[in-house]
Symmetry: C2
Subunit: 135 residues, 2 copies
């Protein structure tokens, strides 16, 4: 059963190539970090802080593409973890059908926070347990 | 009449926030620069150099989304310029119909080089003339 999560912290360091975001249970206290790249971290940070941009940014472009093709972004599912690598799926809906795309969690979460309203983020229970054990 | 262009140079500077790519006419010598961000420049650079990545990068995700929704990426058109800001459209096709999405040229070109085969890149004649006059 997937657990709904929310973005609880973004830690951006100028002196480090790897940035960290934390996801926390919506209906609980469990939390875990995901290491992501600076481009995706900046993208998430800008959207969370509601920075206005005159042109569509990269993750906005994904939202626009989906909308233009008559589909709708649905949610993000963090579906697996192997070592420190998390796997996610970006879920879309079109004509009542669900379409899933393999994605890095960083991109999927950047898309989630670029949407208005933001997409729900879920993590598989097993992945949550493994991530907490590993953290 | 749009002019077909190719990516001729990518200049990435670690000490500068703004990177530069050059487009050059496929059937001619005219060329002009576009200033882009580091994330998009790195994305273009990685794809042009055929760096293998184990996970889909952000612009690959756009290709995957389009494909998953049963559409096809068609081409990139740099359609306008205002001062130093270029405007582009990412063109897609589905069931014989063309769909266009407003994009920054950097993202559109990063998508173009992430596709296999790469998408054609066009620029409106008027935009090419203005860009050359400005450069």
């Amino acid at each position: 059963m997937p657990v709904e999560m929310k973005l609880s912290r973004i830690i951006i360091s100028d002196i480090n190539d790897h940035q960290v975001i934390y996801l926390k249970e919506v209906d609980g206290e469990r939390t875990f970090p995901i290491v992501i790249g600076i481009a995706e971290a900046s993208s998430i940070d800008r959207r969370v802080k509601n920075f206005e941009t005159s042109r569509p940014l990269t993750h906005d472009l994904i939202c626009l593409v989906v909308e233009t093709l008559g589909a709708e972004l649905d949610s993000v599912l963090i579906s697996d973890v192997e070592g420190h690598t998390f796997y996610a799926r970006l879920r879309m809906r079109k004509d009542g059908e669900v379409f899933e795309v393999d994605s890095r969690p960083s991109d999927a979460i950047a898309v989630a926070v670029s949407c208005d309203p933001p997409l729900s983020i879920y993590v598989e229970e097993k992945v949550l347990e493994d991530a907490i054990a590993e953290a």
